[in-house]
Symmetry: C2
Subunit: 194 residues, 2 copies
DNA sequence: TTTATCCTTTTACAAATGTTAAAAAAGGTT
DNA sequence: AACCTTTTTTAACATTTGTAAAAGGATAAA
């Protein structure tokens, strides 16, 4: 795998979770493609059933949905993050969410139908994606704890510390809905001290 | 598999997610055992690394932890639910959480070390547990949405509708912390109308 | 029954966040 | 630059939830 392969960073990412043998890597390459989306454009419309697993090569994307007509961000993905509409991919139901490029973003798209088909012959791949899901699950458990027991101000400041990029590259309204508060509340928090 | 096997309900549960062949069932039986815990007793102490996947045969259990000295319930499991301290099982770190029997409860315990070992020879099992994790992940995503965008009163009433058992079998203080509110708030909500 | 303990509710007040509307600031386009 | 649009902040007020303390109920043990 040459380091200038379009899938280089994807395999680096996989490697940290479960190393793949070369057959599995070739199989992944054969079902993957590069997609580039302009700023503020959606990858796929809300309402379609999700059939693709995305990886952010370059740029920044988010998963969002409309809650009572309000745009709510569920998740942000930076370079070298996976971005998956799990609630559709894992249930087969149409997704009420969309993936949007916050900046111009280059994705690797992996066909989920083809990927799941490969699991029968390449258990390596099933193991990798099992572990990916396990880690994503643990992350959401921790996020629930954070939402339930830390005030919005604390969550904002923690976000600021852990991921200063967030604030520089993402409109505050998206950060507010990601934190589960209104834009007005976030502005108030930002204005207080400092 | 006779219907009076101690693992009958476990396999019924698995069947709905991913049917197992008989080799896989036998393997599961060989690494599983029945554990009975008295009311209000813990299965395992906080601080131990989780090495067991539990299934509630009879009774009712919860996962809880201490947040600033306060007992917080993360999850309830009724009959025929799995109960897993994922944050420890999937990371290998000591668990800050414990499983407690809310009533006298009979569990099936499955050794996770032995289970993960079986995945190499019985891909059936890895597929089952991949799917289980996927569904659990989707559930937590939905729970985040519920916590962030529905007031406690609505969450309580939804819980009441979807799972009336909760209120009859579980002390209200546990329900309050599960909903992410104080016991006083829950009491206020209950007292309002109706 | 009596006592002790735990669970639940009530009350009064404080703090955090939501709602609405308007103003200010920032970005893009002609 | 001038204009339009979007984003962010500010203000005033309403609502929700938290905190602390006390009282009332329920349950279990002596």
């Amino acid at each position: 795998m040459s380091s200038d392969s379009p899938f280089h960073h994807l395999f680096e990412f996989f490697n940290q979770i479960h190393p793949l043998n070369s057959d599995s890597k070739k199989a992944i390459e054969s079902i993957s493609s590069i997609v580039t989306i302009a700023k503020n454009q959606d990858l796929q419309p809300i309402g379609a059933t999700c059939k693709t697993i995305y990886f952010v090569k370059k740029g920044l994307a988010r998963i969002y949905y409309y809650k009572d007509g309000i745009d709510v961000t569920e998740y942000f993905a930076f370079e070298n993050d996976l971005i998956i509409r799990a609630e559709s991919l894992f249930t087969g139901k149409p997704s009420q969410k969309a993936i949007q490029a916050v900046e111009q973003t280059e994705f690797v798209g992996i066909s989920s139908d083809l990927l799941f088909g490969l699991f029968d012959t390449l258990p390596d791949l099933e193991r990798l994606f099992r572990k990916i899901t396990e880690l994503a699950y643990v992350n959401t458990l921790n996020r629930i704890e954070s939402i339930q027991f830390h005030p919005a101000e604390e969550r904002y400041h923690r976000l600021l510390e852990e991921n200063p990029e967030f604030i520089q590259r993402i409109p505050l309204k998206h950060i507010a809905s990601y934190l589960g508060i209104t834009q007005v509340s976030l502005s108030r928090i930002r204005g207080q001290k400092n």
